[in-house]
């Protein structure tokens, strides 16, 4: 017999009802599922069942997030070296990035999974694999300088208040990772916004004083002189189209690379895990609002008005939000038609928040959370339309 199977069989007895660890049975099950699919067979018709499980569904999302994580490590190192005036060299940068990023990821998993275990034991629900995705998403949208305790607090808030108090995965109406992120954003603005937080400090001390942290593209655009082109200002700050697309600029840990998000989105759409309807809606919404503002732009309007709409897709974590956050099926509307509208409105709101409220440059985060709240309303309308099309049968 397979030794791992033997190990799980031996441990299983401790988690049986009546034994001291009975409450942790969901935890045992979730660990066993990493190695073994369940052997249970159906009790009733339909007799065969699809091979797809929620575990696999979530695992595929995590798989597509890993490139963003590794790129994030590298980019954190790169930006820190740049700021510190160090010559760039691949391995030291990656190592430095890993040292900065991995603790946040580990903290996120410890606390996110920890809260899930606590709630599964008390509320007696199975551990949903959604929490593994949440715990991976959350550190990727943090600034690399986030203090560890804030990361722990943020993921705790996201998992507990954003999800568990409503009954766990499947019953949450907000995206838990974004809820945690938004909580940190409003509770600790000093550590979550401004120019300095997006670049990790390499070697504190004398050098750090000289270190110049670069502003993020979102902060560069409003600084465009009147009548100037926002794109040119960006390029002057070193953010040309290629840099923005590839993601070599200071930003949240894993959200900067549009390329990797694009790959992730395409793969998830091909696998049928992410809803292409939402993504199409998102992109159309951002472009439509961007063009509309271009039309309204006058000589003395804010520089954001005249920004090429495609740039909106490249900066400020738009691509990451579109690929991995808006497509969270639980907090999105639960009907196909409403998902187009949901995506479209997220796109519009993202641009609106960025342009009209410079205090909150992270438009996509707030736009998604805002539309999460409205998703049930969109569903209500979509279902109403569908019911009206049916020939009633009562």
């Amino acid at each position: 017999m397979n030794p791992i199977h033997k190990f799980f069989l031996n441990q299983h007895k401790h988690f049986q009802p009546g034994r001291p660890l009975a409450r942790l049975a969901p935890f045992f099950e979730s660990m066993e599922r990493v190695f073994f699919g369940p052997g249970t067979v159906t009790g009733q018709s339909p007799h065969p069942r699809d091979s797809l499980s929620v575990q696999r569904y979530m695992m595929l999302v995590i798989l597509m997030l890993l490139p963003c994580l590794f790129f994030g490590m590298y980019n954190v190192g790169l930006q820190a070296f740049k700021a510190a005036g160090q010559p760039p060299s691949f391995w030291p940068m990656l190592l430095f990035g890993a040292k900065t990023v991995l603790p946040l990821v580990i903290i996120s998993y410890l606390f996110g999974f920890g809260w899930e275990i606590v709630f599964s034991a008390i509320r007696k629900h199975p551990i949903s694999e959604g929490v593994f995705v949440t715990s991976m998403l959350f550190p990727l949208i943090l600034p690399p300088t986030t203090p560890w305790w804030q990361a722990a607090l943020g993921i705790s808030f996201g998992v507990v208040i954003g999800k568990e108090v409503f009954g766990g995965t499947g019953r949450n109406f907000l995206n838990p990772a974004l809820t945690g992120r938004a909580f940190l954003y409003f509770a600790y603005p000093v550590q979550m916004s401004g120019d300095a937080v997006w670049t990790a400090v390499y070697k504190t001390g004398v050098q750090a004083v000289d270190a110049v942290s670069a502003a993020t593209p979102l902060a560069v655009i409003p600084a465009t002189p009147a009548g100037g082109m926002a794109e040119k200002t960006l390029a002057a700050a070193g953010y040309d189209l290629g840099t923005l697309f590839l993601g070599f600029y200071p930003d949240s840990i894993g959200a900067s690379s549009t390329l990797l998000c694009l790959i992730g989105a395409v793969v998830l759409i091909l696998l049928g895990v992410a809803s292409y309807r939402i993504i199409v809606g998102d992109i159309l919404g951002i472009l439509a609002m961007g063009y509309l503002l271009n039309l309204l732009a006058g000589p003395d309007s804010a520089p954001y008005y005249s920004l090429n709409p495609w740039y909106h897709l490249l900066v400020g974590g738009s691509a990451f939000g579109i690929a991995f956050m808006t497509t969270d099926p639980v907090s999105a509307p639960h009907t196909h038609g409403a998902r187009y509208v949901y995506g479209f409105l997220i796109g519009i709101l993202t641009v609106l928040i960025r342009v009209f409220n410079p205090a909150y440059p992270e438009g996509i985060m707030l736009a998604i959370l805002f539309m999460n709240v409205f998703a049930p309303l969109l569903d209500q309308v979509a279902v109403g339309l569908q019911v009206r099309r049916r020939i009633p049968n009562v």
Partner: protein, 439 residues
């Protein structure tokens, strides 16, 4: 999909024991008319429906009642008849020819069918219950195709039966004021020959496009047509036989399929035949599941079980309970899935469908797979939530009564939620409530 039955037909000898399974007939409340040890002839009433005593169920064999099996709360599970050696006693019914049928009143015809014990072949939507004989249906649907894996192929059971089918359709024409809709898919139309020419509709697409409820959903024009009746093609042949020949039909064509079935083909067997006659248990390992009916709608039985009245196939599929090592990371070349998350998507070979759940029960994550596969465009995830919240108005509005009980929603669900069983239970409960109101 591995396990399709071959088109060959074997005529099997009469078995020693034959059974009628009352609790496999939905909705009815049986009242026994025989006791253990009673002698019965073919066509002798075994039980009737307490709700309407005209609904009689006649013996498919002559001999003695060997055993009556009861289930929980005195439900009648099976009436087993030990068949008499040699010639079985038989009750004859009046004959009916084309002229006789043309001259006959509707009420007389209904009386004949009721007396002949074959009222059960007719069923009324939306609940799929035996219809009320006094009610004139707006339409009768007859489905020939057999898209659910695996049922007898129409080109096999309708071979040389076109005249009988035509007679059956004329009988149905008498029963309804509206049209008789005969449908099948394009492939079987080509194979059916003269019977194919009688088709009024051709269905497209995979299972359950050939379900009468799904067909009705697409062709109905108003709410009155929701109460259409339907008959399966195989059952219609039984009805035509009874009226034409004046004898209780005792045989039908049954398909044996499924990935674990030792021999996969069609058989000509007695109604209510023992399953062991169709597949040799000695050639199986003992972990297989015996499914009477199709994989998605049939019921689980065993080598000791019998064929039900409505079921026309036996499927035997693997049901071992060994956990799959590293199932989560398996690229899945040979794993069937509706989703695109397995490499089997690219695999042209037929795949083995077993009975594994392949996952644990989780909360709904709104992947919308169920909504994508529903043949009547319900939103199964929303209907499910409405049922749990007991929002009767809401789930009826969403179309619960259009549900054809095909089982696809539960099949595709990655959270392994028992959607279709929940719908079936809610539909039964609603049907009971409506019946109660009428009384």
């Amino acid at each position: 999909m591995v396990g399709a039955p071959a088109d060959a037909v074997n005529r099997l000898p009469d078995p020693d024991r034959i059974a009628l399974l009352p609790d496999r007939i939905p909705h009815i409340k049986p009242r026994l008319l025989v006791a253990e040890g009673d002698p019965v002839a073919i066509g002798a009433p075994l039980f009737e429906d307490k709700r309407d005593e005209r609904f009689k169920f006649l013996s498919p064999a002559g001999g003695t009642v060997q055993r009556i099996q009861f289930g929980p709360r005195r439900s009648v599970k099976a009436i087993v008849i030990a068949r008499a050696r040699g010639e079985e006693g038989e009750i004859r019914f009046p004959l009916l020819d084309e002229q006789g049928l043309a001259a006959m009143e509707r009420a007389q015809l209904i009386h004949r069918i009721l007396e002949g014990g074959l009222w059960w072949v007719l069923r009324a939507l939306p609940f799929r219950d035996l219809p009320d004989p006094e009610r004139v249906p707006p339409m009768i649907l007859v489905g020939l195709a057999a898209k659910e894996p695996f049922l007898p192929s129409p080109s096999v059971y309708l071979k040389d039966q076109a005249a009988l089918l035509g007679f059956g359709l004329k009988v149905l024409g008498k029963l309804t004021a509206g049209p008789v809709v005969l449908f099948s898919d394009a492939r079987s139309r080509a194979e059916l020959g003269p019977a194919g020419a009688m088709l009024t509709h051709v269905v497209e697409g995979a299972y359950p496009s050939d379900d009468p409820g799904a067909v009705l959903y697409h062709i109905k024009r108003n709410a009155a047509e929701n109460h259409a009746w339907f008959v399966s093609g195989a059952d219609l042949l039984l009805l035509a036989q009874l009226l034409r020949q004046g004898r209780c039909p005792t045989r039908r064509i049954v398909a044996v399929g499924g990935a674990a079935a030792p021999v996969r083909q069609h058989y000509d067997v007695r109604l209510g035949a023992p399953l062991a006659q169709l597949a040799d248990p000695g050639r199986l390992t003992g972990t297989e599941r015996w499914i009477v009916g199709g994989l998605l709608r049939g019921y689980a039985s065993s080598a000791e079980g019998f064929m039900g009245l409505y079921e026309t196939s036996l499927n035997i599929v693997p049901a071992d309970e060994a956990p799959d090592f590293m199932a989560l990371f398996n690229p899945g070349w040979g794993r069937p899935s509706y989703s695109r998350t397995f490499l089997s998507r690219l695999n042209p070979q037929p795949l083995v469908y077993g009975c594994k759940l392949h996952g644990d029960r989780r909360a709904c994550i709104a992947c919308l797979h169920c909504a994508n596969v529903c043949p009547v465009r319900m939103l199964p995830h929303m209907v499910y939530k409405a049922i749990l919240a007991e929002e009767v108005e809401e789930y009826l509005q969403l179309g619960l009564l259009d549900c054809v009980e095909c089982g696809l929603c539960a099949y595709v669900c990655p959270s392994k939620i028992e959607l279709s069983q929940t719908f079936i239970a809610a539909r039964r409960a609603y049907a009971r409530e409506q019946a109660h109101k009428r009384e």
